[in-house]
């Protein structure tokens, strides 16, 4: 049997043995002990970047040419098949090989702000924030079905099992408030997104990095309420007894720091019981603020509440807040295969004012410069409907080449644009921006370097962008 060291030097020829040794040491810590507190704040790789991220995920596939991409040419082809696109391959080719007719946007567009950005009439509030935003057009994901593409945008891989963006960021940066979870999720009060909790899963990262789902009724975090009939002082009495016995137990076992960590975790849990309910108590917000977010109107109350919660999370040091709008299938998803006009009107009304209020409110509180806000969906939509002739209320199909996202806050270069789609908004002009490039850019804007934020899993050094993404420098101030 070969000696281990010799084996290593013989088999690793060409690989920096020292670097690997470091990795192995890290791996052995991963394997042996739970880290005492993986949530303590970590130094970012890059100084001066955002400290918080709010990720707005629109489930279903937002129709970019009815929202942020003004395509007058599409109007001219309304009701006719798309003119020849010889080089179209893959998924789009599949769609185009079926009978299809173009659908011009039923909405009027106008330019806004100093940047002269086009917005459709559906987003008047967000349009007023246009000079804070940077847009990315024609983003490509690798799969046009909701399940895989939702995975792709939220975890960097179209297959299940990878950590979500928020998990990576918390893994890289730790948390700023030890009384609150560092990664919080507020889903649509009407239900869960496609793939459910996998959208905020930790994947192969340690479990502490999974998002904590805030509940929209009852206790915001599970188990914050004391058992029935137990007063706070009785609880303290029991916690003191637990601590006394635990300390005695730990003293006899000095080798394990984990036991001490668990004693601390009980104390933190005790504090969380007090801190967390206050953090989500929206009744503490003045009426004017509730109105700003649209809590006074039925259409906007749901997402308004989610956005207002997000701002309160940022104020309390929460690192990453994921807001999901829409449920996986049905009327509450942006998946408008038919009647895109009615659908878009409904969805946009639900989010337009709350999102605008969030940006304005963060700005007024001086929080926007430390907070990166990202607008995303799992895919874009096609400029056509698959149908031999124009239906009465046409919709749009899936388009994994047409995702449009925007970012604001932090070090985002306001008014900047990356990528461009063709006059039909079918796909990007030139080499498409891949979703991994957007992920690399998000990490950069959070002070993390894609190539350095790694985790060894299943024989590979894993990262959010898998094979590495190109940072979209034009979007960074």
């Amino acid at each position: 049997m070969m000696h281990r060291r010799r084996f290593l030097t013989q088999t690793w020829n060409g690989i920096g043995a020292l670097g690997l040794a470091g990795m192995l040491a890290e791996e052995s810590t991963q394997a042996s002990k739970a880290t005492a507190n993986p949530l303590t704040p970590q130094q970012p790789h890059l100084p001066g970047q955002a400290k918080h991220c709010i990720f707005l995920f629109m489930q279903g596939g937002v129709s970019q040419m009815d929202a942020f991409e003004h395509k007058p040419m599409l109007q001219q082809w309304h009701g006719k098949p798309i003119p020849g696109s010889p080089s179209v391959r893959g998924e789009l080719q599949g769609r185009l090989s079926f009978p299809h007719v173009c659908v011009g946007s039923p909405f009027s567009f106008q330019q806004h702000g100093d940047s002269g950005r086009w917005f459709s009439e559906l987003f008047p509030h967000m349009a007023s924030q246009s000079d804070r935003m940077a847009f990315i057009h024609g983003i490509k994901t690798d799969n046009q079905n909701h399940g895989p593409s939702t995975y792709h945008v939220t975890t960097g891989s179209q297959f299940p099992g990878s950590p979500s963006v928020g998990s990576w960021i918390q893994y890289g940066l730790g948390t700023l408030n030890q009384n609150m979870p560092g990664y919080v999720v507020v889903q649509d009060p009407r239900g869960a997104p496609c793939n459910g909790a996998a959208v905020w899963a930790n994947g192969y990262l340690p479990a502490v990095h999974q998002g904590t789902l805030l509940r929209d009724h009852g206790s915001p975090i599970l188990n914050l309420q004391r058992p029935e009939g137990i007063t706070l002082s009785q609880q303290r009495e029991e916690f003191d007894a637990i601590r006394a016995l635990n300390q005695r137990h730990a003293q006899a076992r000095p080798i394990d720091t984990e036991l001490e960590a668990r004693i601390q975790a009980y104390e933190l849990a005790f504090r969380m019981q007090q801190a967390a309910p206050e953090a989500v108590d929206l009744s503490a917000e003045p009426e004017s603020m509730q109105k700003l977010y649209g809590l006074d109107r039925d259409e906007t109350r749901g997402f308004g509440r989610q956005c207002l919660l997000a701002r309160r999370m940022v104020e309390r040091g929460v690192r990453f807040t994921l807001l999901v709008h829409g449920v996986q299938i049905g009327a509450h998803s942006w998946d408008d295969h038919s009647n895109v006009e009615a659908g878009m009107r409904k969805h946009s009304q639900e989010v337009d004012q709350p999102v605008s209020a969030l940006l304005e409110d963060l700005h007024q509180r001086g929080l926007l410069e430390d907070t990166l806000v990202v607008w995303a969906s799992e895919m874009g939509r096609t400029p056509f409907v698959n149908s031999p002739s124009l239906p009465k209320n046409p919709g749009r199909e899936h388009n994994s080449y047409g995702l449009c996202m925007w970012m604001a806050g932090g070090r985002v270069r306001a008014g900047a644009t990356a990528g461009e789609t063709d006059p039909f908004s079918l796909r990007s002009v030139g080499e498409p921006i891949h979703i991994r490039d957007v992920h690399a850019t998000i990490l950069h804007l959070m002070g993390l370097e894609d190539e350095r934020l790694t985790f060894q899993h299943a024989g590979r050094i894993r990262k959010l962008t898998d094979i590495g993404g190109h940072i979209l420098h034009s979007l960074i101030a």
């Binding site: 042996s32 079905n145 299940p160 914050l224 029991e238």
Partner: protein, 732 residues
């Protein structure tokens, strides 16, 4: 050969023979040189004996000789034996996943015979709860779930039968080589000698094949889905059985290990005649169909029949009640409407405040039956004698023959490169020849025996990986960390084993013991190494071996999620010991099941004893992990999970202190104490400690907790305190 021929031609003398021999020797050296560069782990485990240690007292078996030898080289010594109370708690949790009863602890501590520990171990290995405990470790590897994941997260109605198959396999100590073959090639066991029809697959082997179908699955997209599906089988089979991350070579040559892309596709070619059954009618997500597999366990068919009847009856009762209430509603209606009321109208009528037209019981019964019926059709489906299985294609002229497998460039399904033939990993065989696949004598089924060829190669005593990988997994579960710390990756990134000779010795023992997993448990838990105390006694240990890789003391560790839940139920006396059967749906907090469900086929909350079966039986819904288990790092698998994380978070504290389960069980624990220990507070406290921690309280603990033991309300609080102690969830 060319060289030797040339020499032979030119020098046909005796001298030539001498030279030829030299050349041959050189060539052999060259070849073996090639093999030598195929270093660990690609070469067979060495024939090795445990090192001689003197003095040899304190050594129980070969394991200890290797461990002590390595410790001595670092100037370290093993720790003394743990106390008997510690030991019985450790080994009981380890083998059956539950705490020992106070009676068992007492009997063992009193028993001073040398054989006492060995007998305890035998008893535990024969306990059928052993299979329930160890099945979970395999199910994690098999990425077991009861749903397919992705959009809609559709139900896999027959997956649970695989879970029961795994429980049985462990309890029966199914030889591991057979266990491998059944899961990879259960449909290819029967020898075909004649020309008649294809023999039926034994139900158990059909169920075993579920292993290959447990990956998440979504809306199929033709060739792309097939490529991804077979690639996943290739990767999972390789990492689970061979401990090699072959999947890394799908898109490019392995970055660290000697696995070229070609080898990935040569391995994938063994799966290329896999045939899924077309989806059932009504399968909106097109996850594919099942195959017949009769209930084969004793009493299982009768059980299934009675469950089916029960559900049918419940459906009928609900319909009858609905009709009765509808009729009553109609008779009360003022307008003449001959049509039966709609279900929602009926419900509005039923739910009216202060109804005079129906009793509270009727209303409650209506809602109860409605809840049950919502899930009835899915339950009936689960009770069909079928398996989530697959088979080989029947081949021409009925179904596709053996397709050509290509290397797929960058792993993309539509970028075929060179064609390859099914073959084993070249890092292990030293060559790239095609595997020989033994067809039936008539070559009637050219599509058959491909997976069996792979399974036989994996399950062969000559395979350098298989035995090593499995003994290492067992070692990890017993000692807290594998000899190779990445149990599904024996490649370069694993860093190699801490005790290479021990690993090889164990692998050979495993093969010599005819692949008996129980024999390996026995060897490991009977070693002195396993029986050590869990605190180091040696002063230099932190400098010499800070991570305790050399095992100079036992690695204390937290219980896994399932064991934490099972312990709570065990201590409260309410664990339902029923084995096998349909998935269970314990109540979830805050109605979260309603917020993630996609259809009526999901979390069918059950109350009462059924929901209190062991955690292993909990429905594994990929879009919903039970929050309690999740807090303790229990996850519903998406892909093969070789080991669990063990985190420490405040959410665990919230779950244990404020959570539903402990809140519900603490009063039952208290009632048990009253029942079993009477009124004396000292007795109650003593018994509470024995039940929860397998030991009595010391003076300080008595002083702190006695006040709680004096009143009934206090007893409940005492129960909660004990369940929240670190000691409750840590094993020394």
């Amino acid at each position: 050969m060319k060289l030797s021929h040339a020499l032979h031609d030119r020098l046909p003398t005796s001298m030539a023979w001498a030279r030829l021999c030299v050349v041959s020797v050189l060539m052999v050296a060259l070849v073996s040189g090639v093999q030598a560069s195929q270093a660990w782990p690609y070469t067979a485990p060495a024939e090795i004996s445990p090192p001689e240690i003197s003095p040899s007292e304190g050594l129980s078996n070969g394991i200890d000789a290797f461990i002590v030898d390595a410790l001595e080289k670092k100037g370290l010594k093993p720790s003394p034996r743990a106390s008997k109370a510690t030991l019985i708690r450790r080994v009981t949790f380890d083998l059956i996943g539950l705490p020992p009863t106070p009676e068992a602890v007492n009997a063992f501590v009193q028993d001073e015979r040398a054989e006492a520990y060995g007998e305890l171990v035998e008893k535990l290995l024969k306990d059928p709860r052993y299979g329930e405990r160890w099945a979970k470790f395999w199910l994690d590897l098999a990425r077991y779930a009861d749903t397919a994941g992705y959009e809609g997260d559709p139900d896999l109605p027959h997956a649970w039968r695989y879970r029961d198959y795994v429980i049985d396999a462990f309890n029966e100590d199914k030889p591991y080589d057979l266990f491998i073959k059944e899961q990879i090639a259960g449909d290819e066991f029967a020898e075909i000698m004649g020309a008649g029809e294809l023999p039926l697959v034994e139900p158990e082997k059909n169920v075993a094949l579920t292993f290959l179908r447990l990956a998440p699955f979504t809306e199929p997209r033709g060739d792309e889905t097939r490529h991804e599906m077979l690639s996943e089988m290739t990767s999972t089979v390789s990492s689970v059985f061979l401990g090699l991350t072959v999947g890394c070579a799908k898109c490019h040559d392995h970055k660290y290990d000697q696995i070229p892309t070609r080898d990935f596709y040569r391995m994938k070619a063994f799966f290329n005649t896999v045939q899924l059954m077309p989806p059932d009618r009504g399968d909106a997500y097109q996850i594919g169909g099942s195959l017949p597999a009769a209930f084969y366990r004793e009493g299982e068919e009768a059980w299934a029949a009675s469950r089916r009847e029960e559900i049918q009856l419940q459906k009928k009762t609900f319909e009858a009640l609905k009709q009765r209430l509808s009729a009553r509603m109609q008779s009360e209606a003022t307008t003449e409407d001959s049509e039966a009321p709609s279900e929602s109208d009926l419900e509005t009528w039923i739910d009216q405040e202060n109804p005079s037209h129906l009793t509270a019981e009727e209303r409650e019964k209506y809602h109860h039956l409605k809840h049950l019926n919502r899930f009835a059709s899915q339950q009936l489906k689960r009770l069909e004698p079928r398996a989530m299985s697959l088979r080989h294609s029947f081949g021409p002229p009925y179904e596709p023959g053996v397709p050509v497998t290509h290397v797929m460039i960058r792993g993309e399904y539509d970028q075929p490169g060179d064609p390859v033939q099914a073959g084993f990993l070249s890092c292990l065989t030293g060559h790239e020849e095609a595997a020989s696949i033994r067809l039936d004598p008539f070559k009637r089924w050219p599509t058959r025996s491909r997976r069996m060829a792979l399974a036989e190669w994996i399950a062969s005593p000559e395979n350098p990986m298989t035995a090593r990988v499995l003994v290492n997994r067992l070692w990890m579960h017993h000692f807290g960390r594998g000899l190779v710390s990445t149990p599904s990756d024996f490649g370069v990134l694993s860093g190699g084993p801490s005790h290479p000779e021990l690993l090889d010795w164990l692998a050979r023992q495993f093969i010599d013991e005819k692949w008996s997993i129980k024999a390996m448990h026995r060897l490991m838990v009977l070693s002195s190494t396993y029986q050590q105390a869990s605190e180091p006694t040696h002063p230099n240990v932190m400098e010499q071996d800070p991570d305790n890789r050399l095992l100079s003391y036992y690695n204390r560790r937290r219980l896994e999620a399932e064991a934490v839940r099972d312990s709570i139920l065990s201590v409260s006396g309410r664990l339902n010991p029923e084995r096998h059967g349909l998935p269970i749906f314990p109540p979830l907090p805050d109605g979260i099941e309603e917020r993630v469900k996609y259809s009526n086929s999901k979390w069918a909350t059950t109350h009462g004893p059924e929901a209190r079966k062991r955690s292993l039986y909990i429905y594994q819904q990929r879009t919903l992990t039970m929050p309690f288990l999740q807090a303790f790092d229990g996850l519903v698998c998406e892909d093969s999970m070789p080991r669990r994380a063990l985190s420490v978070t405040p959410l665990q504290a919230l779950e244990m202190y404020n959570g539903q389960l402990v809140e519900e069980e603490a009063p039952h624990f208290a009632a048990r104490l009253r029942r079993e220990a009477g009124d004396d507070p000292n007795q109650r406290l003593e018994h509470a400690f024995q039940v929860a921690l397998a030991r009595g309280p010391d003076a300080m603990e008595k002083e702190t907790l006695l006040p709680f033991a004096q009143t009934d309300g206090g007893l409940e609080r005492l129960a909660r305190i004990l369940m929240n102690l670190n000691e409750f969830v840590y094993i020394d």
